[in-house]
Symmetry: C2
Subunit: 382 residues, 2 copies
């Protein structure tokens, strides 16, 4: 009996080669968001993107990357398309097969658009701040805990700065950092590159060492009836979960400084709205506030009336709030740009001190929010 | 001027409702692996799975879940299929659109099959051990570090047991735990549910508190020429990276007990092969070894010849090795079952002490490996 053990798993080796072999004559470079080893999508020097899919049975395929493109059938069952130049930064995109927006098997997936979606990261001239560098590295930890309000187990991601495990007498300030609608708690760790941004800022001295908590912005209380007219955030009790459960859990689990002067909250888009909702009604708990492409929802346009009149006395508010930060990308959809810009002007007109930033060229996307995090993290806890 | 800020991001609310509304008259329950809020796929009481996709433009769609099924066009552009009963545990599956195996937009994705893939988790009667329970929870941390061998930044996931941050004088043993071919370092944290398995075992006293390191089993040295005849693992220097870089980095970063009596390695499929390759050539560093659906590669069938004759003197080996563990699922493909079973018999014939386990009903899949981890973690460091 011959005991040669040739396992079927050896055949898995074919997976490891990762699709198409390298073709050195090809222009451009594989995207950093590709499955390791995959040659497509490729990014050309002018930021056009070449997508290529093996689909000998397909009759038509499209790529939806900022806009829809019909793919062309190549030889050997390959379909390809070259897009227009794509602005730098992270974009969700879809392979449209059988008319359904699906995922490109060559790319990594990210939770966005309310589902798992393909992502592509176009390099930026100024991208070193979100790349891994030869500096001390923090960690991102997944923390499971039970929430009594939602009657469910929840997961938070928590960035701890370099040296956290060694400097056991040191306590740290905390930034609560929220994702946008259709995304979840994986957004800031994955798309946002929070760990590299913070590692680099802390190493250069531009930001104080801090803990960053990235939670899931959806929460419902199964015992609470939801007013059907309450609007899109009706029934979402995330603000309560954050203040009553997450903050105490974090203060108990990590070496935090638990006063308001050492606690910040920021969020993007929906998370920015949630940030204003939560912080402006809990000013005893937060001294730093950031809205990235997201702002307060000012019904009727009177900024002095909302949040129990917190903005009616600008001197008192300015005295209490250490940093308020509002940002928007210059290429965001017009209503978003106008909305956030109008909020900024309202604050200005009312004499509410704040930092306002417009991210050049970028849209309602992660490049706007990476830049915003870099700025905001450098302003707080100073 | 009316300052009503009605942001476009409010329209993202449609994402939050997550596709189809709940239809209480439907049989079965949504899979735990669904995108939150999605009603399909549903699992029926007999473990048949109902998959439903909205695709009004499609002309034919298939589901590949253990076997291929043609989907049927429903009213209103919905396509559905009900599978045969599916064995309990975690399965990768594909939606086949335009002939391409793609991902079901209703499900979460996992790195497997050499790409991101849809996954579905079928409940097991004995599943409490990998569910979150009301016990103290450990954390899984992502650790970024630079590897000089591969000249690249790499990421390890590290489980720290409950109390790690509080018991700052306690040092812990370490299990290095590897994924299979076509998977990566996210496999054990996501599909494997390592954190819940360890939390529950530690809480019940069935396992010692330990650190678990989950690394990426692929590594190449860009300066080293690869022998084209070296076979499927040729050029993969992961064993070297583990021994020369990962272990020192972990011992420096975490409060480990760094002798061989407190260091274990286990892996599944390809990772099991890598485990034997690494541990049998580094017996001064490991005292516990586990191969889950993966074994040593015994050329010619003579077990006494490989690894410099480590198994030629069974008494010496048995004295040195604290626990050796080999497992296989009863429903794995015949060649895999025969391969691992033959390895077990070779060890037995040679007088090499080991624990051998057959997981009932399960295939070359995560349920076999969750069960194996549960058993192996309970045997080591005792």
């Amino acid at each position: 009996m011959q005991y040669t053990l040739l396992f079927l798993f050896l055949s898995l080796a074919t997976f490891l080669s990762g699709g198409l072999a390298a073709q050195t004559e090809e222009a451009g470079v594989p995207a950093s968001t590709n499955i390791p080893g995959r040659e497509y999508p490729r990014i050309l020097p002018d930021n056009r993107v070449v997508v290529r899919i093996h689909a000998p049975e397909a009759e038509s395929l499209q790529i939806d990357l900022m806009q829809k493109y019909d793919m062309q059938r190549d030889t050997g069952g390959y379909w390809t398309v070259t897009t227009e130049p794509v602005v730098e930064g992270f974009h969700y995109y879809s392979l449209v097969a059988d008319g359904i927006p699906l995922m490109d098997p060559n790319s990594q997936t990210f939770y966005g658009m309310g589902r798992m979606a393909s992502g592509i990261d176009i390099p930026d001239e100024d991208m070193a701040y979100y790349q891994p560098q030869d500096v001390p590295h923090g960690q991102i930890r997944s923390v499971n805990y039970h929430s009594d309000i939602t009657q469910a187990y929840r997961r938070a991601f928590v960035y701890t700065p370099p040296g956290y495990d060694q400097n056991t007498d040191t306590r740290y300030p905390v930034l609560y950092l929220q994702h946008g609608g259709g995304e979840d708690e994986t957004g800031w760790p994955n798309q946002g590159k929070t760990d590299f941004i913070l590692d680099n800022l802390i190493a250069s001295g531009e930001a104080e060492p801090m803990i960053v908590v990235m939670e899931r912005g959806y929460a419902t209380d199964p015992d609470r009836e939801v007013d059907p007219n309450a609007g899109f955030m009706g029934g979402n009790v995330f603000g309560e979960v954050l203040v009553e459960e997450v903050i105490p859990m974090i203060d108990e689990t990590f070496r935090t400084i638990s006063d308001r002067e050492h606690r910040a909250m920021a969020g993007l888009s929906m998370g920015g709205f949630q940030t204003f909702q939560t912080t402006m009604t809990n000013l005893d708990k937060f001294a730093y506030v950031g809205g990235f492409s997201g702002a307060a929802f000012v019904r009727g346009g009177d900024i002095t009336e909302i949040y129990d009149g917190v903005w009616a006395d600008p001197d008192a508010f300015n005295d209490k709030m250490k940093v308020m930060y509002v940002s928007i990308g210059t290429d965001e959809p017009e209503r978003m740009y106008q909305g956030v810009n109008a909020f900024h002007k309202m604050l200005e007109d009312a004499g509410i001190e704040h930092v306002y930033y417009e991210s050049p060229r970028t849209g309602h996307e992660w490049q706007t929010w990476r830049r915003s995090l870099k700025q905001f993290a450098g302003l707080i806890f100073q």
